[in-house]
Symmetry: C2
Subunit: 186 residues, 2 copies
């Protein structure tokens, strides 16, 4: 029961993330095709759409958590940690996207994890504020929103092949902190 080859399961999950970010109305058959497997095999790994969605949420939270953790440990300040997080999260934007779009609000433990993650982000931003990275008169909730959406913007740039992940992340961070403005406030 547990000896299922992990790559197939992973392929399903990755395909689901990809397709969901492109077309949220996609059917399970579409996901199976994208994963390069048969539809029956998908049902061997996940009893149905609900179970798959819950699993996607769990994986998304774990991947994002790991990436964030990894970024934070390599930083010597909250400001630097957030900058590293931007870079680490751009390739995982499909996960972030899934979590922000899907209403897994009925699953209490996933909702709790999601909220904990959000609070952690808000906390990091508050600390970065104290370090002088963000202006004190800008609401933290806005900075969180801006961070998430600029992250998504960076991902779109990469998807459109208009920038590399590194370039896009740098642009997103620069925009968040300094804006795209010219010399007017130098």
């Amino acid at each position: 029961m547990k000896a299922i080859k992990p790559t197939t399961r992973d392929a399903i999950i990755e395909a689901a993330f990809q397709i969901y970010s492109e077309d949220p109305t996609a059917s399970l058959a579409d996901i199976a095709v994208r994963a390069g497997i048969g539809r029956a095999t998908l049902h061997r790994h996940f009893s149905g759409r609900d179970e798959l969605l819950v699993e996607l949420a769990k994986v998304a939270i774990k991947d994002l958590d790991d990436a964030a953790e990894c970024a934070v440990t390599g930083a010597q300040s909250y400001t630097e940690a957030l900058r590293l997080m931007m870079h680490a999260l751009v390739p995982l934007a499909s996960r972030q996207w899934f979590l922000s779009q899907t209403s897994v609000e009925n699953h209490p433990d996933i909702l709790a994890e999601y909220q904990r993650q959000s609070e952690e982000m808000a906390n990091d931003i508050e600390e970065a504020k104290k370090e002088g990275c963000f202006a004190a008169d800008v609401p933290t909730t806005w900075i969180v929103q801006a961070f998430d959406n600029l992250l998504y913007a960076a991902w779109q740039m990469v998807r459109n092949e208009e920038a590399t992940a590194k370039q896009a992340a740098a642009l997103a961070w620069r925009t968040l902190v300094e804006g795209t403005g010219g010399h007017l406030h130098g």
Copy 2:
């Protein structure tokens, strides 16, 4: 045939925009309920989902175009026009959202209009660059992405009742131009 009361049709379209932004997998029955009408009535106005989607795209483009036009005419510079557009578009973010998400790419005229709109936006940003609003070394495509996504971030703030439309639009514009940074570049 043409004497259909406009309010019912409008109610359907508005309900569809709302529901679509919340749950893209919603059924036509869900839209009918949200619009406060019977499911059969929806089919009297739109032959099916395809026709509804095309109509939504047309309405979205028109609403956005009107709002943008109105904003531009009241401005004396491209920079000011873009700032006014941000304010004008926040309440219409569900339209922007729909256009960016839905794949109406099979409909040639809608696709053409959408691209024309995108190019116009890119052009306005290029002009604003010349006015000194945006740094020359930032790609225009990124500024477009950032504008759209910060617009969406502002809309989320309003939806979460964490800010008024005016406040959120001001935050989005400030972030786009100056960023959320502190005193580091004052």
